[in-house]
């Protein structure tokens, strides 16, 4: 039985749509995977010394303190990204296979996922360094096993909370409050949790607790899964209660409103697009890394522009790069209707401009770190509206990844979204404004640098018609390829 399961899994892996891409992409994927592995390994080996030399603190102590947050973030990360293997189960259900075998297979599959392996890359080297630094080997191994147990606990907990938004947001809310309390010195939860993690080291046989806990969670996940293994229970799809909205106030945009209304509904009613909205919100705070001098490497003056572009342009990038893929599910409909491409594009463009302006207004709090910080956001917004809005639409025209609107997974960028053309487009998107600013900054000072970027951005607006015409041409010439690519859902 297991043999069949494994061969099915293997086939679904190598035959997935993402593998059928070009060679360039495959190379990029391998490099990406190696890079992730290498950086985690490096982090694992280097963390000890970085903490010791950099922060002048006891590394093992610091890691134990941080572990509580690490574990919660791991859970949050899994919640968003780890796919539950529910979908592939349906066809197995009416075959002569025992339900327990199916469930064991499904849960077992989550256990060998990337989300569990990744931690090993950090904790194994870190443990090795600990032992080399003279920590008793047996105790370190016990500590490591305890962590491993907790990682698997997270794995199984994720099975329960999957699709239970309430539980998830409660946990995240709690963590944010805890971080806040700790930051302002009111209450430090790590004072209470660090001793627990330390105990796994101090009293090695305590490590049995998380391991036993993981086994218990496995049993629980197993019975939960098994109980819900019915088409009308765990395998059913949730139905939303629909409300009809007409957004007639948008009619002032004339014929454009047809698409604008649809795009707003698209954003509001689909999991994937809601995820995009959430990500754009997170991007607003990206600038904190730069303007608070939290990361030394980002102290160069032109990095401000880099930050400004991302702070104001979170939505622009996450949404814009997938136009027209957002409409992939019904692209044949769009292509057989009398679509006015200009209005179709313009609607998406207005959304991006509006979101950019909104982000700019919201990020007014950057004034706290000096007028330069907010000026960077504002000129970043100008550049985004004038230049980048066109460039992302242009890049999107070449991306033929169908988007599954009903799932929030994979929202952090599809692997397929990268190709040579879109990579090339990042140069004018990010590097050019930084260069422009640098020119101004090093000649007449920072104000001139900001002004130059803003002028360049606004000048970009003059080319809107031209760019839209080019994109329309691409849409038309790539029409059949795009239709064929969108048909491939996987």
């Amino acid at each position: 039985m297991l043999k069949y399961f494994i061969s099915l899994e293997w086939k679904s892996f190598i035959r997935s749509a993402s593998f059928k891409t070009n060679l360039f992409l495959k190379i990029m994927m391998v490099i990406g995977a190696l890079w992730m592995t290498a950086s985690f390994l490096l982090l694992g080996f280097g963390a000890y010394f970085m903490i010791e030399d950099g922060l002048q603190m006891e590394p093992f102590e610091v890691v134990n303190k941080a572990l509580i947050y690490y574990m919660v973030f791991d859970l949050a990360f899994r919640y968003f990204l780890q796919k539950m293997p529910v979908l592939n189960i349906k066809p197995l259900m009416y075959l002569p296979i025992k339900r327990t075998a199916i469930v064991n297979f499904a849960i077992g599959k989550t256990m060998i996922s990337f989300f569990n392996l990744l931690h090993a890359f950090f904790f194994i080297p870190f443990s090795i360094v600990l032992i080399m630094e003279g920590f008793p080997a047996l105790q370190v191994i016990a500590w490591y096993l305890a962590i491993l147990g907790l990682v698997f606990c997270n794995n199984f907990i994720n099975i329960f909370i999957n699709n239970k938004d309430v539980v998830f947001y409660a946990v995240v809310g709690f963590v944010i409050v805890m971080i806040g309390l700790q930051y302002f010195g009111v209450f430090d939860i790590t004072n209470y949790t660090a001793p627990i993690f330390r105990a796994f080291y101090a009293i090695p046989y305590l490590a049995l607790i998380p391991i036993v806990l993981a086994v218990v969670f496995y049993k629980m996940a197993f019975s939960y899964f098994k109980k819900n293994l019915y088409l009308d229970a765990g395998l059913s799809s949730k139905h939303d209660i629909a409300e009809t909205e007409d957004y007639s106030w948008l009619n002032r945009f004339g014929s454009l409103s047809t698409f604008l209304k649809n795009d707003i509904k698209l954003l509001r009613r689909n999991k994937r697009s809601k995820m995009t909205l959430f990500m754009s919100f997170v991007f607003i705070f990206y600038g904190l890394l730069f303007f608070t001098n939290a990361v030394e490497a980002y102290d160069g003056p032109f990095w401000k522009i880099f930050a400004g572009i991302f702070v104001s342009g979170g939505f622009l990038f996450t949404f814009g790069q997938f136009v027209p893929s957002w409409d992939s599910a019904y692209y044949p409909l769009m292509m057989s209707q009398n679509i006015r491409y200009k209005e179709y594009l313009e609607s998406k463009w207005y959304l991006m401009v509006f979101a950019t302006l909104l982000s700019t207004v919201v990020s007014v709090f950057y004034l706290y770190w000096g007028w330069q910080a907010y000026a960077a956001v504002v000129v970043g917004a100008a550049y985004n509206i004038g230049v980048n809005s066109h460039l992302v639409l242009l890049g999107g025209a070449y991306i033929k990844t169908p988007i599954d609107l009903t799932t929030s997974k994979k929202a952090f960028g599809d692997k397929q979204a990268f190709n040579a053309k879109t990579m090339l487009l990042t140069i004018p998107k990010l590097l050019l404004p930084m260069a422009i600013y640098a020119v101004g900054h090093f000649t007449l000072g920072e104000a001139f640098g900001f002004a130059l970027v803003a002028i360049f951005g606004l000048a970009g607006l003059l080319f809107k018609k031209k760019v839209f015409a080019i994109i329309e041409k691409i849409y038309k010439s790539e029409k059949y390829k795009t239709l064929a690519a969108y048909k491939q859902t996987n």
Binding site: S237, H239, D240, I241, A242, E243, T244, E245, D246, T258, K261, N262, K265, L266, R269, N270, A329, Y330, Y331, P332, L333, M335, S336, Q337, N338, I339, L405, T406, Y480, L483, A484, K487
Partner: protein, 231 residues
Amino acid sequence: MITVTNLSKKYNADPVLNIDTLDIPKGQSFGLVGNNGAGKTTFFSLLLDLIQPTTGHIKSKDIQVNESEDWKPFTSAYIDESFLIGYLTPEEYFYFIGELRGQNKADVDALLQDFSDFFHGEILNQKKYLRDLSKGNQKKVGIVAALIGSPEIIILDEPFANLDPTTQIRLKQIIKNLAEQKGVTVLVSSHDLMHVTEVCERIVVLEKGQVVKDLATSAATLQELEIHFAG
């Protein structure tokens, strides 16, 4: 109305469709039958310029469909679920299609009024998005949406599949009326020989991409088709 000339479609040298000539006059109700893989959906997709012909072309009202888009305003179709927008309610979907075809809300409402018994109370005001409707109900929405804006050519791929018997009977009436009273050219494909012979004045049988029969429907047609497909 529709003229097909030397049309062929090949996938990696595999011919899937090969039609030398075919003329469909205005106002004809045209039925396409054939086994799986005979090329029915391929033909409709070519007609809607969703795929490119390998050779030849289709002209719709003298407009070559793969060169100009001017056929779109007078053509509508329902091929499969990819013609539905899952996150809209049926009403919103009808209004969206209506706006694309130059119809205001009142026009669309008036049209929907005529189809209230076709919908059987399961489509409008159900607080459901299209993605959550059953296959049959989705099909009803797609078919009715294809009627919005008085198109001159309507293409329906397998319209009878997945529908309940009551709706099948109503749909047959609707298609007949379109061709007879309003002069609309209706193209329908089906696996159900009985339904097509009842609805269509002309039936074309496709086999491995070739036209093997082209019949004007008469009392003997159904039997002729049954003998043909029995093999």
